[in-house]
Symmetry: C2
């Protein structure tokens, strides 16, 4: 039933790519197995070869989101000098979220109720988290008493909150006292471990 | 049509309180003018005396959310010693979000498209933000070169991200290397202006 372009072996990837396009363009409510099949140009039953149902599709989309986010964060970190890799990975997080706001919300929202049913999602999320933890450990000063897990949680909270507040228009360069958005992100990231407030 | 309990002057408050209860118990999709009327025990047309339609109701609910969050943050700050008020306000943010996760998402999500149509929402959000800005300014060390707006944006990002990642089960005390959730929140809040990472 599949069109020749989607021969055995890449239909699943094509379905996931189409699902992410639909999600970003039309929102979560428009993301159905039927819509994905239509976009890829396969029969309505074809997606069921790969996904049991709607939630399984969403879990696979979220897993693909974690893989893409991890790769973007790696790319940002790899392009940065040794002394800037941790912050660069944070900028990669923000960039991913701004390009894929609906995907980010799907990945972290409570749409998929029981992650333990989806080992692919657990694994992709774990790889991304382990990357964060390793980067946090590498960024800690020698002899630091703060555990890497704490730095990781704080950095994650900071970039996650910043991304959502930017995406939803709550924080703007103007409101944050920055000349533009890139400067804003730099300034906020610098506050992690920046000058301590008095109180 | 209203029951005697809701005499002139407090129907709007009763409708907002009922709306928030429905939102937290059943989610955004269950929040309709009809459901709110039913919960308060008034006629289905009664809510239209106060809200033009669904979006106007949501905007008023979000405004009430900002007022409640602001009050909780003030309560936390007021109960803290002078040297801990800024962090205490952050703990108030997390506490509010954990008690009212759906309300927090409504307040900051993109559900209400054009805030400028709802002066009550703009005003309530502004009062809350101005409180953040004043607390950030008061927490800055004397002679700091970092503007209060930057500290405010970073602190907001940190507590907003932390709250959502806690609510959605992404960050847990175990994962963050903390003994319990209260310690986790303290440890993450301490990272704002805490020991600078090496890179």
């Amino acid at each position: 039933m599949a069109k020749p372009a989607y021969h055995h072996g890449n239909l699943r990837d094509a379905l996931l790519a189409a699902a992410i396009e639909i999600l970003e363009a039309e929102g979560l409510s428009a993301l159905t197995l039927r819509a994905v099949a239509r976009r890829v140009g396969v029969s309505q039953t074809a997606p069921y070869r790969h996904f049991e149902g709607k939630e399984a599709l969403l879990a696979a989309v979220a897993a693909e989101g974690f893989r893409r986010k991890h790769q973007i964060q790696l790319n940002y970190a790899n392009a940065a000098p040794d002394t800037g890799k941790f912050r660069a990975a944070g900028k990669g997080y923000v960039a991913f979220g701004q390009e894929n706001p609906e995907l980010l919300k799907l990945m972290f929202g409570a749409v998929i109720r029981d992650w333990s049913q989806y080992p692919e999602l657990v694994a992709a999320s774990r790889v991304n988290y382990d990357g964060l933890l390793a980067a946090a450990a590498a960024a800690l000063p020698e002899g630091s008493l703060v555990p890497a897990e704490t730095v990781a949680s704080a950095a994650w909270s900071l970039v996650h909150g910043l991304t959502l507040l930017l995406v939803d228009g709550q924080i703007t360069p103007e409101r944050a006292g920055a000349v533009d958005q890139d400067a804003l992100v730099d300034q906020v990231l610098n506050m992690l471990g920046g000058p301590p407030p008095k109180t």
